[in-house]
Amino acid sequence: MRTISLKVNGIVKEVAVEDNELLLNVLREKLGVTSVKAACWRGECGLCTVLLDGIPVKSCMTLAVEADGKEVITAEGLYSDERAKKLMESFVKHGAMQCGFCTPAFVVTSHYVLSKNPDIDGEELKKELNGVICRCGTYYQIYEAVKDAEKYYKKEKV
């Protein structure tokens, strides 16, 4: 058991973890952060994606101790980011969700993608989002939602 320090959605948390504990389980079970989901537990579906120091990682494949001293952001933590909020609004407007279980992962991933490159080419965008699975098949709507939100990230850049 060791104590690690995580800044989760803006709040610094000290939490005691075992070396073999996964970031996903610590976030959900110990810190009650259920805005990160999981569906395959082996890095295939992308639903457990969080931003770790700004980089998307799959939290079911990440040891909690690896994240010591780092910042974790999940979808709910993005609500306070004005651009991300517009991105979320675009998801809502385009009906880019059905059951919604994958939606936080798509929000987190597409926020990262647009922050990095708001002029992203359509085919490249599909590739960037290919690591998250939506079984309801809302890919068309998500694509439109993300494309539509590019403008907010461009503004920020200028």
Binding site: N25, R28, E29, T34, S35, V36, K37, A39, C40, W41, R42, E44, C45, L47, T74, A75, E76, L78, Y79, M88, F91, V92, K93, G95, M97, Q98, C99, G100, F101, C102, T103, P104, V107, K126, K127, L129, N130, V132, I133, C134, R135, C136, G137, T138, Y139, Y140, Q141, I142, Y143
Partner: protein
């Protein structure tokens, strides 16, 4: 009729919770002190359990208890009680839960699960339908005759046949014998596929100290589950409280009865502490049910002019180890085998057959992906033999609303929808006979279509009910039993409520967006079969009518006018004859109170309910009336086949559905597009693969491949047709499942039409198609290779 809310593109009401990840699914619900359960599963497909040694498991620190089948001697099932809670006496498939560990941490539960030792005496496994039906095949359910069976089903004790259903209409044998009848004879197959709901099945249960059992679960059927659990555990129905938060996908997997009885019993077994079971993806794909495997032996007769005169089919559903829900899938595939066509002579026999493989259950489409795979391919094969266009052969044989009679003897209602219009819109959009050149000389461009019709498959008494409450400020709370799993029905119900009450949508709160609880929500049978908007919608409209009548009653006293002079609109109650006499409806919410405190009326609470009262069970010939509405639709595809690899790339998809009335076109289109994607997966990728011992070889999302972002087609067009259903809520009918049914047949038909290559079994993987082309049309590959190596490379040199 112009509407204020209906027909507008409205996002799902819980969208903001979804984008922030703060919507609470069953997966997210936990109490401090909850114990964890872990399954121990069978490593053999068919074996007697000689002994189970739990002593080592109990020694693991943190383990509370380990339960085995003997601890829970209950039989479970919806249509057929062929399921045990944990394996009793024998195991029936690799993955069959044999024991369950309860511990205070997941880690301890997982460690202990590995330490449970089970000793088996292997029995001969029955791994194919063919073997299961042989006279000397071992019995998978020796006590089939003792199981509880729902009316209208026919298991055959002493065999591996869990159900047999027969549909007879006209005289098939004679029609097939007629000299001028042209026969198409084929065998079609579908593999077992997995629902892959993103939220795996999970249950939190607490057997309380007052002997109430409270369960939070990811489920489509809280009420059916409550009843079936009570029945199995011999408890009064209201001692069980099922909470169903929104499900992270359902697709039929979460219909009927799931893991709730097991986890509830584990809670009791662990000293009445709350216990949670979450299935891993691997457990979900090996220990929980999949969609049935399917074999169809079809003999179809056509006249030269394209008339479809006879359809003889035998369906065999590989139900796996438990056929509980699948017996109704088999029955449904049987009675709706004639699809959207008027076929005068039909004889279908549909069997659900036990094998020692993963059990099966309902899945989106419920028998229709199965029977339409056979029917819609047969039509294109016939079209090819007869030299008729695929559109024309369908046009000639489509059911005629108000005239035709289905093979079940049901007359096709006049307001059932417009199949001809569906076909016309589809034909125009896809333009079958105009096929562009492929992008490369070694590729072939192809177009194909398929149609479908489907009704909810439900018992004749599948009811629904609704309650509406008017609040002090004029906002309205709506309660139905219809659950939320992404299909969007609760949002559509809210729109219906706003429209019917004549208030803005923002005033409506629909409670099941957070949770359906059996002790607070009104009853509905299940959230399945695309029945929600129709059944719960009608109940809701009746509840609103009731509430409005209560308001009118009070208003008439306050206005001092007759009740039938009071009308409600735009949030006001007013007198029709003296329209200046009006008051906001909120003033009547808790009864109307005069300035002196005198109150007339009382709080407004409307109730409404619905049952498909004219429905019956089907008789021995499969005749009767067991449907409430049918939805017609069709899919068209344009695709490219790479002859060098056998890869199929769908470039363009067209979906056309007659939904009666699109209450929320945004959600209807979402279903059409999403259903296409799921259909695409089943057409090109998905298949549970079995080892020689019946073990699932690909219980993961790497080698069981579901569509990803990059698989979306470049173009997706969805067309909504609105031919109102007179008794539907504002004319609407359901469409949630239908949207995936015609996709695979359209793709197979496109391939056949362009190449002449027959693919009778899904999925159409690159290797399968490549081998089929090599076998059936090797010249196509030879030509492709020639152009690839000669023309193709010459082009390269010129660059």
């Amino acid at each position: 009729m112009t509407y204020k809310n209906v027909g507008k593109e409205v996002p799902q009401a819980d969208s903001w919770l979804k984008v922030t990840g703060t919507l609470k699914y069953a997966f997210d619900i936990n109490f401090p002190g909850t114990l964890y359960a872990k399954l121990v599963t069978s490593k053999l497909p068919h074996a007697k359990i000689k002994s189970i040694d739990i002593s080592e498991a109990l020694k693991v620190k943190g383990v509370i208890n380990v339960a085995t089948g003997k601890d829970f001697p209950y039989r479970l099932g919806l249509y057929l009680s062929d399921r045990d809670v944990l394996a009793v006496d024998k195991v029936r498939w690799i993955g069959h839960p044999v024991a369950a560990v309860i511990a205070d941490s997941l880690e301890a539960a997982e460690e202990a699960a590995e330490k449970v030792k089970v000793e088996y005496e292997p029995l001969e496994p029955v791994l194919t339908v063919e073997r299961a039906l042989e006279k000397d095949a071992p019995l998978i359910h020796e006590k089939l005759g003792e199981y509880r069976v729902f009316p209208g089903f026919h298991p055959v004790p002493g065999t591996n046949i869990a159900n047999v259903f027969e549909l007879k209409h006209g005289d098939v044998e004679n029609a097939l014998k007629e000299e001028d009848t042209i026969i198409i004879e084929e065998t079609y197959r579908l593999p077992q596929i997995s629902h892959v709901t993103m939220e795996t099945q999970n249950v939190l249960a607490w057997w309380r100290f007052d002997d109430y059992v409270e369960v939070w679960t990811s489920i489509q059927s809280p009420f059916a589950t409550r009843y079936l659990m009570a029945d199995a555990l011999k408890l009064p129905v209201n001692r069980i409280i099922i909470h169903a938060p929104p499900a992270g996908g359902g697709f039929g997997l979460k219909a009927g009865l799931g893991w709730e009885p097991l986890v509830a019993l584990l809670s009791k077994f662990a000293g009445r502490k709350p216990v949670k079971l979450v299935l891993s993806r691997a457990e979900q794909m090996t220990s929980a049910p999949a969609r049935d495997g399917f074999i169809a032996k079809v003999k179809a007769g056509f006249k030269r002019d394209g008339r479809f005169v006879a359809y003889k089919a035998e369906f065999y559903l590989d139900a796996g180890a438990y056929a509980d829900y699948t017996i109704n899938v088999a029955r449904t595939a049987g009675y709706s085998a004639d699809g959207a066509y008027d076929i005068p002579n039909v004889h279908v026999t549909s069997y659900a057959v036990y094998t020692n493989k993963i059990p099966t259950t309902a899945m989106r489409g419920f028998g229709h992906p199965e029977n339409h795979w056979a029917l819609e391919l047969t039509l294109d094969r016939a079209a090819s033999v007869l030299g008729i266009d695929p559109v024309e052969i369908r046009r000639k044989n489509l059911l005629k609303p108000g005239e035709s009679v289905r093979a079940t003897g049901e007359r096709v209602r006049e307001d059932e929808g417009d199949p001809q219009k569906v076909l016309s819109v589809l034909a125009q959009a896809i333009d079958l006979n105009h096929v562009e050149r492929a992008s490369e000389p070694w590729k072939i461009r192809a177009k194909g279509i398929a149609l479908l019709v489907k009704a909810p498959s439900q018992p004749p008494n599948a009811g629904a009910s609704a309650v509406v409450k008017l609040n002090e400020d004029g906002t309205i709370d709506v309660l139905t039993g219809n659950g939320s799993m992404g299909q969007g029905t609760p949002t559509s119900l809210a729109i219906l409520a706003a429209e019917a009450f004549g208030v803005p949508l923002e005033k409506i709160k629909i409670n099941q967006l957070e949770m359906v609880s059996t002790d607070t929500n009104p009853y509905t049978w299940q959230t399945v079969g695309s029945r929600g908007l129709f059944s719960d919608g009608i109940a809701l409209l009746r509840a609103i009518e009731d509430a409005k009548n209560q308001i009118k009653e009070t208003a008439s006293r306050v206005f001092k006018v007759p009740v039938d002079d009071v009308e409600i609109s735009e949030g006001y109650a007013y007198s029709k004859t003296h329209p200046w006499i009006r008051k906001e409806i909120r003033e009547f919410a808790m009864g109307y109170t005069y300035p002196d405190g005198t109150t007339v009326g009382s709080p407004v609470i409307g109730r409404g309910s619905y049952a498909p009262i004219l429905n019956t069970f089907l008789d021995a010939n499969g005749h009767g009336s067991n449907t409430v509405f049918h939805t017609y639709g069709g899919t068209g595809v344009e695709l490219e086949i790479d002859l060098l690899t056998g890869e199929v790339k769908v470039l363009r998809a067209v979906q056309v559905y007659d939904v009666g009335k699109a209450i929320d076109p945004l959600l209807v289109k979402g279903q059409m597009d999403g259903g296409f994607i799921m259909g695409l997966g089943s057409a090109l990728f998905e298949q549970l693969k079995f080892g020689e011992d019946g073990k699932v070889l690909n219980p993961n999302l790497i080698t069981y491949y579901v569509p990803h972002f990059e698989d979306m087609t470049a173009s997706m067009e969805s067309y909504i047709i609105e031919t109102p259903q007179k008794d539907g809520p504002l004319g609407a009918r359901g469409v949630g499942e239908h949207v995936m049914v015609a996709v695979a047949p359209a793709i197979a038909n496109a391939i056949f039409r362009a190449t002449g290559v027959k693919i009778n079994e899904l999925p159409i993987t690159a290797e399968k198609l490549w081998k089929a082309i090599k076998e059936q049309k090797p010249e196509l590959i030879d030509k492709a290779l020639k152009s690839f190596f000669e023309e193709g490379i010459k082009e390269v040199e010129q660059i």
